[in-house]
Amino acid sequence: MVTVTAAFLTLLASFGVFVVGYYALINVGYLLLHVLALFELREKVRESRWNPPFRRFATPFYPGIGIVVPAYNEEATIVESVRSMLSLNYPEVEVVVVNDGSTDGTLARLAEAFDLEAVDAEIPFDVPAEEIHDVYRSRTYGGLVVLDKENGGKSDALNAGIWLTDMPLFCAVDADTIIDRDALLELARPFLQEPTTAVAAGGVIRVANGCRIEDGIVTDVSLPKTGLPGLQVMEYLRAFYSGRLGLNRVNGLILISGAFGLFRTEAVREIGGYRHDTITEDFDIVVRLHKYMTEQGREYTVDFVPEPVAWTEVPRKRRTLSRQRRRWYRGMVETIVTNRKMLFNPRYGRVGTGVLPFFVAAEALGPLIEGVGYVVIPVAWYFGALNLEFAAMFFLLTTGFGVFLSWFGVFSEVWSFNRYDSPWQVLRLLWYGVLENFGYRQWKTIVAWRGLLEYLGGVESWGVMERSGFSEDE
């Protein structure tokens, strides 16, 4: 019995040492990423503040962009969204709306608003998607194509749109995403500067809750009035202005948000489009592009451009947020498992040897280990194996460092594009950076564990987002 107890206590002690070492490594990684992000941001800000003496809109070199909008039961917002996308400042835009088997009046609203007619001719090539019933063209808007197809999910709808667009680039957006008027001009820049190598570029997603929106344009940027969306503003800032910028610095960007990304159409067609059997198609497509391009021995770039902004509504209720995050977690695990041969594989360059392993350690395993830690601490205390002073100190250190990294993200925002221009709002953001460590962070470890269990149990559902709409007061 003594031996069992001793072994158990040794196990607890070993776990403690492992956790301390693990978090030290992860946090050093994060710090490095944030510092890289700061250098990258400095360069991007200087670049964006120089306004060259020419008329951007008049230049003939911007490649055409097909904006692919998957729509499932979006009758309330689809017409306004499409109008907003058709009026973006970009020389050549084609909006491809894919009605993914909606059961409401999405198609009827579109047909009425844009004077649609079904095209008689058969599609002359195979489209790797569910059956397309009809392709519609507008009698008044040359840049609008609407597909009506059998329901097949978001990836399926995106594939249908990608195969139907004639444009060399396509922009994947959510139907309820609001894109800044000049955002496409900015987002297309990597494709002009690296015409032979750029395959994808991602912009920044910001939280629309709390902002004033008029005629499909964000006219006043404010923080949400309630805590949960506010905490997500903090998370989004940290993710985009620190994480992705830092990864961009080492050409290791592995995630472009599904709500706003620009891709070379041909490259995505080459890899077979979006996978149908994934629920985080945005993560999966970028990892597969890295994998494919490296395997083909082709030079390529995936870029992050920090100023083009798209706005999205984030969940206001804990239940909805939990569902969203569990889905993200399941998708992340699934993508990592699918592409596991890239891990620690020098053949895949920095992505294989550095970025992906770090991502797995920090984003996939990190919350799980943290969750276990919250269970082990009381157990160790019960068995008298817990050094309370050390545990408290460790918690304070990791929390303090987390707060510092969050504040670093806020600093990046204030120093660069400063969309939250009131110091009171900045103060609130800084407060969210503290608040998220008490309750929210711990709750996210439970969500991660639930996500993992759902993945292991084969759950594949998307869940319902339950959006309240941009105009509704919170």
């Binding site: 200087r46 503040r49 120089w50 306004n51 060259p52 003496p53 020419f54 951007r56 230049t59 003939p60 070199f61 911007y62 007619e117 095209v119 008689d120 001719a121 058969e122 599609i123 002359p124 090539f125 195979d126 063209r137 507008s138 009698r139 008044t140 808007y141 040359g142 840049g143 004639d166 820049r189 002009l192 500067q193 690296e194 015409p195 032979t196 190598t197 067609r269 050094n387 002073e389 050390f390 100190m393 460790f394 250190l397 303090g400 460092f401 707060v403 510092f404 504040w407 670093f408 806020v410 600093f411 204030v414 120093w415 400063n418 221009d421 009131s422 110091p423 900045v426 103060l427 800084l430």
Partner: protein, 374 residues
Amino acid sequence: MAGVVGAFGYEVPLIVLLVALALVIGLLAVVSFHITISWSIYRSIVDDRRNRVRDGTREELLERLFVDDPGWEAWINELSSTERTVAESLLEEFLRELDGEDRTTLQGLGVALGLTDRARRRLEDGGEFERLDALTWLTLLGDPDPYLESEFEPKTPRERAAAVTLLSETDALEDTQEGVSILLADIEGQFTVFGQDTLYRVSLSDPAPLLSTARTEYRNWNEPLLAQVLAVCARLETSVGEEDLSWLTRALETQNEAIRAAAARALGSFGWRESVRDQAFLRRAVADPSPRVRGAVYEMLGAWGDRAALSVLLYALVSETHPRALERGTATLVEHRDRIDPETPAVLGDAWEWSLEHAEYDALARRGSKRVYS
């Protein structure tokens, strides 16, 4: 917590290490908090001040713009530093929009604000973005002298483009050859869209210097730069006299399919010349292994647009096996449907019908009239 940590022969109590770490993290957090909030307050105050004087300054500026003697010097001397900053930003906004006499009058305000002198200093001593800012202001002010008098030589693609734009906008560019030389001589890296646009505008009226430079230098350029130059060539659509275009046909046989596709599009704008229409070359081009390149070759043939070219295109499409390349070809052919036998395209099947119907909708949307296709 009595543990110790040892390294390099030294032993440090764990508590000391943790406290030191806590102090460092605490210090970092405090510093980042203060910098963030201080910077936010500073920007808020500055923005607020500028916003308060903006309307008044704009009104005064516009009033002075429309009188015979605006008296910029006297006005600037009366302004606070905030008002001057606002005047500078308004000036930039107006100079980018206005032409003619109003622009000339406004350029006097730039001189009164000391922007020419500042540009001169920045050209001599500034970093890249300061030099770019200087060149931009000189362009807006229509004054190339500080640049011409300085020892500054543009190095980066951005600087080259800004310098050529300055010279070109102020009629100080000796000829197109000078512009092309500044832009492309011994260049490293590639252009931004501004640089590509500058190369295009400077070559628009006389493409010969660009084509001549490309002929001798294209092998030394990196692929992105070559693709950019080819994209510029594709837009020139003008007479090139007897310029040697063999480099373009050679570019069509490089390894990189993006380059081959860009070369095909560039040839589209020069294809009226018999020397480019060599049958053996065309046979190789339409048989390119890449459907993307074949699609671009079909566009090239469509751009040539005469009966001989359309005949080659039609012949190639009949044996085209890749549906996407076929669709690109039929979309091109549809644009010239009045020049081909109406019965012939039937062999192209669904792709032809598809392209034809979409072309009709495009035309309908452009005209804003009723549908004509049935």
